[in-house]
């Protein structure tokens, strides 16, 4: 007779039959009946009506029957709380049973009956069982505390079960220890601040001893608990590591991974020059390699973890490249992960081997895998410069196969290679052009168009090629349309004579016939640029692009640190922090790696109470009324997206430009002589545009508007120390302190954001109000990871000076709005005007003299700088660092006269005469400027620069 017959009864009236059988006198019949009930329960039938009858069977000495009844109880007690009370007496009685199996069974089941009323009856038996002589009962009772805590946390604390549980950590039986640790760890997670799992060297020692004796699953609990401990110093850390290392050769991969997690974390504390550090690195490789011989499921999970480990410590697996080569019978998801790791491990030493493999993969059958392999070749070229040439020739070989999808992928990656190594491999363009017709995927078409546009001057028939794409312009995807627009404008700027028609055609297609706002806006920008100032257009469109970085796909370092703390968990498979997918209090505490030896305290938030700098006025939070606020609120605060390069959200005021100016002539020069047809063609459409508009501009363009550039001056411009701009009290826990600096010709706002609230902050964005010099963020605020409580983050925001202008009082005042997921906050701060001194502020001597004379004397102002003990040369050097240039020096009667010039970002020149008398700590500055309002600010800067 088999159990399967239980699943086949589907007749009506079945419940009645079962009822009768349950009440039968015969034990066998009863057991059969309960089995039938449970079978129905499994397939989802409602058999709760039988509750009283089943509970009646509970009073039995047959363990098998008892277990079946308990199984039923656990499932239905919740829906029948009143009836469940009926069972309590039996439970209490069973907890006293001489048979430990029955005692344990009773206490286990009672904990699973999630009925509030039962819990009070549970306390006494549980207390007894926690002290039971049989370890099997004790370990079951330990888990029961965790169950009870989940139902009624207060009760557990009141009854003192937590202390009993803590005592169980010192139990003689390792199983009991393991369960106690597991239960305490879980309870501690819901009380993040309680010191439940009081981890000190003594308890750690106990845990490490139990580690050697308990079952594999117990070892996992203990290792996971150890991972939360922070050793006091590197010596303790080393001794724990030494005792954990033997776990690396365990056959259970979960034990191995938990051990790896502990070691990866504690390794941070070990000094790198220690011999043991090197030994440990060597020991980590073999177990990780062993994981790759497991089932595909485990392999996949292992590979996701190895991916993290390789990013953190590539040295561990640098010699193990071969194990990541794919097998032909690996499932595709394992193959793709292996490819990713291969690229991360690629280096000059092994690149030949890797490329040979990748080339093989590129001829396999599976389309997805082949595509990934081709991409991987491109990534190798970008990562390992020495291999670029070989990669390109490999890609060319692949293009020769004419396999459609291979060709398309190859073209996409060749575009990236061009971005990394410009002007190096154009010889291949001819080959690429041959395959123009076979491209049917948007990405490949866009890549090809980009290449044609970028190298238009070297492709004889570039105009024909682009024209052929233009025919089906409206059927193309946005990506291709945008690329085509840009490419044709590039082509026009390079070969203006032959391509006017083409460019007009594409501009009108983009601006008049398209519904896509991105496309239209970009069209308008080009149109206006071309019609206003073709030289500027050239600078903008044909500007040198920043080289793409080799590791664009690395995980962001703070996230990586957190993920390393979660090795072997779901977080490491999703590559997301646990807070992103676990709800409630459990597991959302952000973990961080301990600091390395000697710098253990450096993780603390930086000193926020630093001395006030040059901005004498204390930072003021703008009151929440007044007209100013309106301006700020109207601005569109778009939080940056956390994945991929965020689109810059700064709106740019273009209204100031002369729309209809016929500047095109200067571009076309003598060739065209300003043909009226052209002028008309350009003039018409822009006239219809609003006088000022904001447009999203892609990253490359954005930099171009940053007018600060010029000769890069890496020397240290003066930057005041950070001051608190926005105190946490006024901003719901967000504290911002910051300063301004000019680095390599770019004005930057350097801020420290500190989260002093209890919840995580995300979605940061920033906007400025109009200000005297048109300062505006050149990009979005880059806070990519959520800011967790007590965490602080350093952000550098590059600024430009093309924002809207409005005179402020004082002149260097800046009003800022910062938004996060909680609210929008306002504050104002003052920047030292020396930030705006341009690098090209050195005037010709003759010009200086003439200008000095030319500026009326009433514009001159004089200041004293007291207590400055520098000689004139040192002062001159110091000032030069902040772009205040000394043009001439004269010595009259022991007094040094320095003549200096500086230029503000908006083009205003300032002339100064600095008088330094040897032995006299007081300097005199005379300033002359056509806009005398700035003098006060400039004087402040002088003083700040000289005294710091």
């Amino acid at each position: 007779m088999t159990d399967s017959k239980y699943f086949t009864t589907t007749k009506k009236g079945e419940i009645f039959e079962l009822k009768a059988e349950l009440n039968s006198d015969k034990k066998e019949k009863k057991k059969e009946a309960v089995k039938k009930v449970i079978a129905s329960m499994t397939v989802g039938k409602d058999v709760s009506a039988l509750f009283p009858d089943v509970v009646n069977c509970m009073q039995t000495d047959n363990l098998e029957l008892k277990k079946l009844v308990y199984l039923y109880l656990m499932n239905y007690a919740k829906s029948q709380p009143d009836m469940a009370i009926m069972a309590v007496n039996t439970f209490v009685k069973d907890c006293e049973d001489p048979n430990p199996l029955i005692r344990a069974l009773a206490v286990r089941t009672m904990g699973c009956i999630r009925v509030d009323k039962i819990t009070e009856y549970l306390c006494e038996p549980l207390r007894k069982c926690l002290k039971d002589e049989d370890p099997y009962v004790r370990k079951t009772a330990a888990v029961c505390v965790a169950k009870l805590h989940d139902i009624n946390a207060q009760l557990v604390e009141d009854q003192g079960f937590l202390d009993t549980l803590k005592d169980l950590i010192s139990d003689s039986n390792p199983m009991v220890v393991a369960n106690a640790v597991a239960a305490l760890s879980e309870i501690a997670e819901s009380h993040p601040n309680s010191n439940l799992l009081d981890l000190n060297p003594q308890t750690i020692n106990k845990l490490l001893t139990a580690l050697n004796e308990c079952t594999e699953w117990g070892q996992i609990f203990i290792l996971d608990c150890l991972a939360n401990y922070t050793p006091r110093d590197d010596r303790e850390s080393q001794s724990i590591c030494e005792r954990v290392t033997p776990r690396l050769s365990h056959a259970n991969s979960a034990v191995v991974l938990s051990a790896v997690k502990v070691l990866m974390k504690f390794m941070e504390m070990l000094p790198k020059d220690l011999d043991y550090y090197g030994t440990l690195l060597k020991k980590l490789a073999p177990p990780l390699v062993t994981l790759l011989s497991a089932e595909p499921e485990l392999q996949y999970v292992a590979l996701r973890n190895i991916n993290l480990i390789v990013q953190r410590r590539p040295e561990i697996l640098k010699h193990e490249m071969k194990v990541f080569f794919v097998k032909y019978n690996d499932p595709i998801y394992v193959k793709l992960e292996k490819l990713d790791i291969m690229i991360r491990l690629a280096s000059q030493a092994n690149i030949a081997q890797v490329l040979a493999e990748l080339k093989e993969y590129a001829t396999e059958v599976d389309v997805d895998f082949v595509r990934k392999a081709v991409r991987a070749i491109g990534r190798c070229a970008i990562k390992v410069e020495q291999s670029a040439e070989r990669c390109v020739s490999t890609l060319l070989d692949l293009i020769q196969t004419k396999v459609n999808y291979v060709v398309q992928e190859a073209i996409v990656v060749i575009k990236d290679i061009f971005r990394k190594y410009p002007n190096k491999y154009e010889s291949v363009i001819a080959t690429l052009c041959e395959n123009l017709d076979s491209l049917d995927e948007p990405e490949a078409r866009a890549a090809m168009i980009w290449i044609v546009g970028e190298y238009a001057e070297r492709i004889d028939n570039a105009d024909e090629l682009l024209e052929s794409f233009l025919e089906g312009f409206h059927d193309e995807s946005t990506q291709v349309q945008l690329q085509l627009l840009t490419a044709i404008v590039k082509l026009f700027l390079k070969k203006p004579t032959e391509t006017q028609e083409l460019v007009q055609q594409v501009l009108s297609l983009a601006t008049q016939d398209s519904d896509n706002p991105d496309l239209r806006d970009r069209g308008y920008i080009y149109w206006r640029l071309l019609s206003t100032d073709p030289v500027a257009a050239k600078e903008v469109v044909l500007a040198e692009k920043p080289l793409i970085s080799e590791e664009t796909d690395l995980i962001e370092p703070t996230l990586l640190e957190e993920l390393i703390c979660h090795i072997g968990t779901l977080a490491s498979v999703y590559h997301k922090p646990p807070s992103a997918f676990v709800e409630g209090s459990r597991g959302v505490q952000h973990k961080r790696l301990p600091g390395s030896a000697g710098s253990g305290e450096s993780v603390e938030s930086p000193d926020v109470a630093s001395a006030p700098g040059v901005s004498e006025a204390p930072p003021a939070v703008i009151p929440s009324q007044g007209d100013l606020l309106g301006d700020l609120l109207n601005l569109d605060l778009t939080p940056p997206t956390t994945t991929g390069p965020p689109p810059p959200s700064s709106g740019m005021q273009m209204g100031a430009m002369d729309l209809l100016g016929g500047g095109l002539d200067s571009l076309l020069g003598g060739d065209l002589g300003g043909s009226p047809a052209m002028g008309g063609g350009f003039g018409a459409a822009p006239a219809a545009m609003p006088a000022s508009f904001t447009a999203p501009v892609s990253g490359g363009l954005d930099d171009l508007f940053d007018l600060g550039g010029g000769v890069g001056m890496p020397m240290g411009a003066y930057s005041p120390p950070k001051t608190v701009w926005l105190p946490a009290m006024k901003a719901k826990g967000l504290e911002i302190s910051g300063t301004f600096a000019r680095r390599s010709g770019v004005v930057q706002m350097e801020m420290t954001l500190t989260n002093k609230a209890m919840s995580v902050m995300t979605d940061f964005a920033i906007q400025f109000n109009r200000n005297s010099f048109g300062l505006a963020p050149a990009g979005p605020l880059q806070v990519l990871t959520p800011l967790s409580p007590n965490q602080s983050i350093e952000v550098t925001l590059p600024l430009n000076t093309v924002g809207p202008v409005m005179k402020m009082e004082p002149l260097n005042n800046l009003q800022v709005a910062v938004k996060n997921n909680i609210d929008v906050f306002y504050f104002s701060c003052q920047y030292p005007i020396s930030m705006l001194f341009a690098e090209d502020g050195k005037m010709e001597r003759q010009v200086f003299l003439a200008t000095w004379k030319d500026i009326p004397n009433e514009n001159e102002s004089q200041f004293q700088i007291k207590d400055c003990h520098l000689n004139s040369d040192a002062a001159s050097n110091k000032l030069q660092g902040s772009n205040i240039f000394t043009i001439a020096k004269r010595t009259v009667e022991g007094q040094d006269m320095l003549y200096q010039s500086m230029k503000l970002s908006n083009g205003i020149w300032l002339l100064a005469e600095l008088r330094v008398q040897a032995g006299n700590p007081n300097y005199t500055v005379s300033l002359k400027c056509r806009a005398p309002e700035v003098s006060q600010c400039v004087f402040q800067s002088y003083e700040a620069v000289l005294k710091n």
Binding site: V43, N75, K78, D150, Y333
Partner: protein, 441 residues
Amino acid sequence: MISQVFILSSQGDHLIYKDFRGEAGSDVVNLFYEKVTALTGDQPPVVMRHKDVHFVHVRQGGLYWVATTTADTSPFTIIEFLNRLTALVKDYCGSLSERSVQMNFALIYELLDEVVDYGYIQTTSSDILKNFIQTEAVSSKPFSLFDLSNVGLFGAETQQSKVAPSSAATRPIQSSRDQGGKSEIFVDVIERMLVVIGSNGVLMKADIEGEIKVKCYMPTCSEMRIGLNEEFSIGKSQLRGYGAAVRVDECSFHQAVRLDEFDSLRILRLCPSQGEQTVMQYQLSDDLPSAPPFRLFPTIERDNGGRLLMYMKLRCDLPPKSAGINVSATIPVPKGSVSLSQELSSPDQSAELQPQSRAVVWKIPRFPGGTQLSALFKLEVPGFSSASMLEVGPVSLSFELPKITATGLQIRFLRLSPFQPGPAQRWVRYVTHSDSYTIRI
């Protein structure tokens, strides 16, 4: 922490459903089935997520074994656990199938109750569990004539009974309690080869993964000792003298194995628990102690009629007394190949063109060592171009080498102590499989 465990048949029928923590409803079972059946080929199926519930599953015996969790639990733990659970169910019910699970649901519920408590895994050792489990397994073995095959004429021991029938290892462990006399122990040495041979015949990669498995069906067995080759060495530095040492790079052991005699005498001591367990795992990277078992000499050309001619010579370099069995070579061919004509060197071989996987599959049931086979394949490939040539290869082989270990690992002896009452059958079996054996063209 495991929230729920359930077992589904391949059609999505609920066979077992056990909720440990009351965190998610039973509706997630159907949700899981919808999700898993909707997966496409390149999506990793291992870990799936629906809102706060994370599914981790393995597929064994045609069934889905699923665990859910709502916390940031270790997927390694869950996968290892599910694998152990399948092994346990197999040990207790004799085999893994929808039928055996259905028939033994009460037993499996009881097992689950002991194995996991409130989502914490307690133990998966059948030795400990046998103290708690009350329900008897129901075996589903159908009556079969094959079972009679090892009953000798007039009770005499026949040749056949020297070889353990393959079904001997698939029976419930508990039945040994009743059958009493029939106590057996199996020690299997299983190795898998991962080989890549370059187009120039150079061995590019050669890894071996191996394991020693013990299947124990003995009511009382306090200790057994497994002796490995004495010259067995681990790691590169440990080579003792020279000569034909058996070397592996790395090995790991079951936690029940005591290694006090391992360093000096290469003896593993353990008290095997009932059922199956992997006692030792080892691996050898980038080294083969002997020549690779198979080599391929391909010649590929086009004939005047535009057909693709592939002349394949396959040589087996095993010792003459051994043989490879179930050898199958998969040769990728250009896209759009339509017809295949073949000339094979012996009648037991077969070959066919599988248009779906774009490959010719050449099967050789038995391939003795030291011999050579050849085959000529002629393919019609419309639209053949020079690039099509690139689509030919690499050839992958799958095979089984019975009674051979690639590393040379041998079991020197197998001793049980204390001396067993009654006859205890001891079986030692060796086999090497191809894990991935690729020959590039």
